[in-house]
Symmetry: C2
Subunit: 480 residues, 2 copies
Amino acid sequence: MIHAMNTDPHSDPLFELGQIIGPKYVLTGADAAPWARDWTGIAEWSPLAVLRPANTAEVAAVLKLANRHRLSIVPVSGNTNLVKGTSAEGALMLSLDRMSAIREIRPEARIAIVEAGVIIANLHGATGEHDLIFPLTFGARGSAMIGGALSTNAGGSNVVRYGNTRDLCLGLEVVLPSGEVMNLMSELHKDNSGYDLRHLMIGAEGTLGIITAAVLKLAPKPRAYATAMVAVPSVNAALALLNRLQDETGGAVEAFEYMPRSFIEAYLERFPEARPPFDTSHEVNILVELGARSPRDTTPGPDGSVPLAAHFEGVLAELFENGTLLDAVVAQNSAQRAEIWARREASAQVLRMRSPVIDNDIAVATDRMQTLLERIEARSTAIDPGILNTGVAHLGDGNLHYAGFPSVSDPALHRAIQRAVEEEVIALGGSFSAEHGIGLSKRPAMALHKDKAALGVMRAIKTALDPNNIMNPGKLLPDA
Amino acid sequence: MIHAMNTDPHSDPLFELGQIIGPKYVLTGADAAPWARDWTGIAEWSPLAVLRPANTAEVAAVLKLANRHRLSIVPVSGNTNLVKGTSAEGALMLSLDRMSAIREIRPEARIAIVEAGVIIANLHGATGEHDLIFPLTFGARGSAMIGGALSTNAGGSNVVRYGNTRDLCLGLEVVLPSGEVMNLMSELHKDNSGYDLRHLMIGAEGTLGIITAAVLKLAPKPRAYATAMVAVPSVNAALALLNRLQDETGGAVEAFEYMPRSFIEAYLERFPEARPPFDTSHEVNILVELGARSPRDTTPGPDGSVPLAAHFEGVLAELFENGTLLDAVVAQNSAQRAEIWARREASAQVLRMRSPVIDNDIAVATDRMQTLLERIEARSTAIDPGILNTGVAHLGDGNLHYAGFPSVSDPALHRAIQRAVEEEVIALGGSFSAEHGIGLSKRPAMALHKDKAALGVMRAIKTALDPNNIMNPGKLLPDA
């Protein structure tokens, strides 16, 4: 029996979307499954569809249609975020993965012009051919894309020298919630022409529009690296070492990463084939990397020694003599350098190797990190004496990735520990959200700790730019 | 005869303002005169009154009152801006000059916490005691204040190494148009907690609120400077020199300032007692300054030479040999360094020594500066064959301060030249506003050249945050 169709296919949004971007780029059901979960595998959702537009004009048309039908849009690029920022129950996920062109690299001006779907590691490869670097780097660089890095203002391991993603961006192209295309693709180092909408869009987590292209700053590739694992008596001693090295080298520290004994032990448990950094185990282990920029740093002296490396080893030897350095292993080649980095870059797996885990991405001024660690230990063990506290820190910029493995399975107790950690961060003038962003996971902390006037301004801006609340609704901003 | 008063003094806004900040800090008439004109003396206005609040709470109360009475507020700090950004006909000028405390300098964390009324030179003095610098510097530093520098995202001579004012700011306190106080006084290098309202307020020229305090980044004071005037055959040759020096020194260039022959001649005309930089005059004169950060740059070698200076002079000698350097004078002491800088810092006077002047604060990518200069010469002389073109440029960051002295007094012709210059800047992907901001003067250019979608977003934000349009009305945004 044949039924008369009582719906016009042209009023079906998915049909219309197929008209805009091509039906094969409107994915549903099993085709959409790779986007229907986050990187940790813990969070899952059922998107209405996944859209894979080819260019900015298609993105613009999709947003116009979404406004007309009041459909929610969740932008996604590499989908490596850790705060459920791409969760999309019933929403249209808009993937930037097909917009992956590196449009231009201009070595003289030290800029790259890229589309949002460029994978960060691919940009590293392309800039390397010009002896330049795009300095942003973190564990997920092999799948994370520029668009997501910009939308979340990603940080990583080299912030101490190069800043966060926003510091590496000169210009942006953004599709506004209305579907208008905003061209802010400035290549300039000075451009005071009205409100800085670039910085407003960077870190907005896709709630104010979709970043489709960017002008990025490049830096000269260091002529050589000096990389070491060192052990010192305390976190404050590590900071003294950092300041000493910055002073001695004219600011050549590229990375300064803290790993406590508990992290090294967890790493060796998770990767039994791996080697410990030292013969003896130490409480405070630091990965330090220097990058040489001047030929005076790398031109071998009469004795054949490389000035930066010799200087570095000289400082370490002096500190070893006076007891402020307990141990040190300096990489002698790139394989040893890679082994040192592998330990640090396994942290995303190591800190999630047990469940449940209380994890926090927090920041304090560097001179308050030791106090923070002491207070976290005190507060968390007061709540759960059997808790195992660990973590890693980008000590050079004050960012701690805390992980606590509680001894009992009790969500209320876990929340209490989470809350206690955040309270100590706030008491020390720190932030409950350093580099991973807010997404869904941090909205309660945002509601509790963010300045109320600032929240009011954010809500006013969101309402002004996205009156139908189609862009990544329910993320970043807590309910009023 | 005694008249009955038929106005209640308590409904007089100036009386109420006196109640808030003290009557003696509500200035009118002759007392207000120092604020009733801009630095150039060309623009004048009659403010309703000048208010000099003592603290943030008073600023907040003033803004609440201004909203109630729908009074316009024009914030002012050093009043050194060049785009009529503080013109205040009939408005309340709110001067931050009494809020001048340097609250704290934390050398270990390399931050300064200051109120908006701190004069930049005073902060230089205070940070110098800790062997640190606040790197922002420009000619008006002896009267310009931090609040104005932040509100306009001031640039200056050291942007090539340290960035603009926004790059030197970690946190802000802002009184919103509503009178609410927004606390964004973060001391952190990573703080992804919602929209970046700090960067929205920086450069908003007081149209979205009043910046009352800030957390600023400090940098280590260079161990030594190497400063020189050099002459090269062309602007492109100057750029090649810049890139060579950056490469040779690992990025130690602090300033790289271009002065054409016409500027040197105008300077010697304006300051007859001054000396020319070279015995012979040259078309392309460059002030270059390097800052040494590492002890390896400054520890004298066996022959007593300072490595950075020796290296610098070695590069210059090599370029002189191969003909890409025409002349060079290296400062041998701080008096010679001061003489070299005095020439550059006189530019604000030199470029305004004749009237009328067509002046423009514009930017292009550094690799397009020579083309821009050639096109300006061609376009302007086509309109006025007798025009004298001059200017100075922060060549290291692509910012040109163009000045044209037309041969005839004809406002329509002047506007045509102004327009032609801007057209060439835009055609080269540049900006009609580099570091001085928009104020009143650049609103026509803003209307003509700024991306329309961006203007729409700016207007939506302005309306959302300042619905009564009390904050510096008529500045920055062109009419819709």
